[in-house]
Amino acid sequence: MKSHQTINKQKKYSWFSFLSAGLVLLLLATGYFWIVLNETGRADLLLFFGRFHILLVHLPIALLLLAAIMEIFSRFRSFDYLGQSVTFVLTLAAISSVISVLAGFMLSTGGGYNESLLNSHKWWGIGFTVFTFIALGFKIFTISNLKLSEFIYSTALFIAVVSLFAASHFGGSLTHGQNYLTAYMPGTIKNLLFINTDEEIYVIDNIEEAAIFADLVFPIFNDRCISCHNPDRIEGELRLDTFDQLIRGGESGPVIVSSSPAESDLFRRIIAPRNDDGRMPPGNRRPLTEHQVAIIQWWITEGAHPDLLVGHANRPPEMEPVLARLAGLETEQTGILSNHVEPANATIIAGLINEGIVITPVSQQHNYLRAGFVNVVNPDPGHIQSLHQISSQLAWLDLSHTPVTDDHLLHISGLHSLTRLNLNYTLITDVGIRQIEKLENLEHLSLAGTAITDAALETLSELPNLRQVYIWQTNVTDDGADWLIRKNPLLKADRGYTLTEPDTIILPAEAGYSY
């Protein structure tokens, strides 16, 4: 047995030395290659190899995950044969990760990436490689304490997997943009994860007094261009860190032609198609957003002036939404309306409209709908049931002043997207109210002039998002309303108002001074 172990160990040694020697050679070759390329002015070749990073990077991801999964499954008897292959897969992961990291370094010489994101990606990636090697080392060699080496091995493997997720996430953010993952995430999940989706929006308090260049245009350069066009690193001999440098231009002359975006090289480059050589930011970097392009175009059209104010410039109508966004004027959306929903079927809507139901989108920017029954003389329960066809889109429903009863409300629980429901002056009672307990998104409920009593409040207290309820002219008691507010302190219950008659009435010629 002993001799067998020794042979095995020798095999391991020779294999590991072979691997290490290979990787050291690879590092040396890369270093040499790098220096030569830089000195001979063929830095573009670095980028050529660098671009394989995007491709290669998927190998260590898959291989390490595979190694980890095999390791876990090998603990079960029916899969124990997997244990013998873990080392092999892990070795491949380690080799491919080194190559990926090298390619990544080459790619980063192209510049133009968000610095802090790039740093996070780089260090998590390096961490990943390091811990993969540690895991591999402790997998192959066991130090005197078998349990300890086993523990170090699993810990290193675990850390490598965590680093893998982090590095991939930051890498994804570099190429796809920072809110790629969260853009279509439902609001509730965002809130759970404390994700602030407004992180890229900055608000200018007094937009009319803002300078177009300093406050609107320069922040874009600062964010997206300056990492390659700064005093330390002057790509294309162009610097974008000051106004004067920008006007001075780059190796092919001025990049801004006052009043003419079409003739300005800078503008032509930011709108060039993705496969165009001259496009900026180059390669597979995120292009400037539509709003950013619009701001730069507007600034050039208005004469590319260093201190022209927004309020003094001509404003084409297409700038208004851009400026509104910068001014923080965009109507903020909360709750369900901030989620994306597919448009409702037009034929279904047409059918409902023919029934006399008023249906409109809540705005031209939304697929959510509002429905009203003001033109339906005598709505029957089937009308409410027919709204189930648009239940994902229907956010606001107004049934006020119609003879709607508890029978109608039997169908209301399916309208799960409702945020506003108006049941003022309908014939509903406490029985029907129970149906609304499933309307989790309900924020605003009007029950004025109905026959509900304190018995309905239990249901109301359980609606998680309810913020405002109107119970004026109902049989709800003061005690009941107080109980409701105690149960849900975020809720406001409106019980009606009165005006106090004044003590004195001001009669003509008695008021204050007279002449």
Partner: protein, 493 residues
Amino acid sequence: MSIRYEANLKTVEFVTRKHFLKKCVTGLGAMALGSLIGGCDSSGAIQTLAGMSASPFTPKPPHFLAKAKSVIFLHMAGAPSQLELFDYKPELHKLHGQDCPPSLLDGKRFAFIEGVPKMLGPQATFKKHGESGAIVSNLLPHFSQIVDDVTFLKAVQTEEFNHAPGQLLMQTGHSRPGFPSFGSWVTYGLGSENQNLPGFVVLLSGANQPDAGRSVFGSGFLPSVYQGVQCRSEGDPVLYLSNPEGVSRNMRRMAIDAINNINEQQFREIGDPEIMSRISQYEMAYRMQISAPEIMDIKKEPESIHQMYGTTPGEASFANNCLLARRLVERGVRFVQLFHWGWDAHGVDKSEALNYGFLERCREVDKPMSALVLDLKQRGLLDETIIVWGGEFGRTPMLENRGGTDNPFVGRDHHNEAFTMWVAGGGFKQGFSYGETDEIGYHAVSGKVHIHDLQATLLHQLGMDHEKLTYHFQGRDFRLTDVHGHIVKDILA
């Protein structure tokens, strides 16, 4: 019969319809081409959902998510004095009776003041009210109780200092007649939910009609269906709404059917969409014969509501109109425009004096307008309804001296540089005051709001971009705010 006459007759007989067509072959072609390439676009500016009927009042989605869906505009025709109601100037007390310094008069034009007038101190006493500490005079004891629901605009500005142009500027965005009114623009942009009532209803009270006449609620160059429909709180709610004596509802139905048949035939031949909107207007009028009397009947309101508003069914009063405005908005009418006439307190006679008629006006509006705000609030309608209150301009800190001599009563002249308005509901801040005037209330010092800014802001709260709500007329796009208007962000909640 002279031979010349006979020759003329022969010529006229000779020129037949065919000649007309032959001669106009190019002319008619050009006309047809004009309509083919869409020269007269009378369709709504905002796209409707597929399958919607072609009624001009079909509800349309706003440009962006709206805070409010309807408007009640309380226009105090004649321009109430801000210095007796909201804009308290203790300094003016001290200057009371002194000659106006020339610095205030140099280069200024007034409607009536001549020479050197005297300064006039506040003709009321003021106190802070509510949690917001808003200063309101003793002339509005009910309104003082609702200041925490209101945003005051203390430095509103206008160009006009005469009533008719001032009212036109406030209601149409232009000081000349011929432009669509605010309510017309809003119903053109958003349609209206209730298809049995007009989308834009006008209610008048006070001894006179608005000085600028019906232009202040006209549709200008917009299709005429968007003009304000005046309803009344005494007699027929809408003039000529009842069938004439001897005409039954059945007969009326048959008549409308016959007219519709002819119109439909015409539509099949010509295809002008205006014909369809005419048909829908006939149908609307027919439906209104049932719906309007029902909705305009305030007798059904409970006694507590009548007490709250101070209403007496059957009379033409501002109070009744306030209650009607609530009933209309509640049933899906988009825009309700109230005018209450009689605020022009120059001091030339009793009815137009700060110490007589003005006090009457205050009592007429104080309770109902306060009740309106609270009543909408307790129904959950205030956050989706905008209430706007104000005159077409303000009044001077000087005592009016028409013709250089003292008036028999106390009054102030027209003043356009700073006056107070208030807005409530519809996503505006509550218990807030925006803008300041100098120590005598003459100039705006900060937070100036021009009429066009107010209009832009109100449209914004209705979900519309005031620069996109346009209508092409005589070769260019027109808007309510013409080429002006900035949204007053600071007053938005």
